[in-house]
Symmetry: C2
Subunit: 132 residues, 2 copies
DNA sequence: AAGAATGATACCATGTTAGTCTCATTTGTC
DNA sequence: GACAAATGAGACTAACATGGTATCATTCTT
């Protein structure tokens, strides 16, 4: 049961590197040799970060990526949702249909509470807070 | 990202049924027709609960299962760990080896804190609290 | 001895995760 | 303009996890 999968993890590392070299345009190649992440995989991740407006991309020779917003505006929870979908700890299994107990289910209630706590914490973690 | 998988979910339903019919020995067949869980799958789950000392089993004609301890002594977290392994939200991916940053990693620190909170909550939920 | 139950365990189908590959497009430099 | 260096888009794949099935052995009651 992992809160963070590999895509998210790599995204975090890439972002940290990019923020540590602010102002310079960083290419996928730079990141590959620095972070030792498989090239194609990393490229997919960078593209996604670009689409989400977290990075800005520049094509062509000398191109690469720049941060599109300040590090303290990038929340961990946004990265998680970008690569793993909504944080949802409390999906009910009942026959794959909408669960008939949804309104009254005690377990659902309790897990919802836990989810809210986790979400609150995840929203407090930004890329700045990971830069050490 | 689910906190509870299908095995655990089924285990909870089975336990609730068993506790609602305390004293009677409940066979897998009873549970199958009541809960509409695939027979073989449910049997595997019941066996595991037995091995873990949460249920007591009786073989032979008229056999089945009884709760081995009171409902308020069965913690949700125990069920989760029985079927899904230790709750561990903060596994680091770094090259599948022990991570060189383990001591200093800021992210690890923050996720550890979240994990502790979740664990604390999960320990407060028992089967009693799910019986409504 | 027969039948009803669980114990143990191997097997299988499907979905998810992590990763690869190819080709198209854009851009800077000569 | 040609070419090389970069990203964009998206199909494809290998390995693993999840959810479920099937089989045979063992035990217990009658
Ligand atoms: S059983 Fe469906 S929401 Fe709880
Ligand atoms: S990078 Fe390995 S524990 Fe954080």
């Amino acid at each position: 049961m992992k809160l963070i999968n590999r895509d998210t993890d790599y995204a975090i590392r890439a972002l940290c590197y990019i923020f540590k070299h602010k102002k310079k345009v960083i290419s996928a190649s730079d990141l590959v040799s620095e972070l030792r992440i498989p090239r194609s995989f990393l490229r997919k991740i960078l593209q996604k970060l670009n689409k989400k407006g977290i990075l800005k991309s520049f094509k062509g020779q000398g191109g690469g990526f720049l941060a599109a917003k300040p590090a303290d505006k990038i929340l961990l929870v946004d990265l998680i949702e970008t690569f793993q979908g909504k944080v949802s700890l409390n999906e009910c299994f009942f026959r794959k249909l909408t669960c008939p107990h949804k309104r009254t289910c005690v377990l659902r209630d309790k897990l919802d509470k836990i989810e809210k706590q986790v979400l609150k914490e995840l929203k407090r973690i930004t890329v700045v807070s990971l830069l050490r």
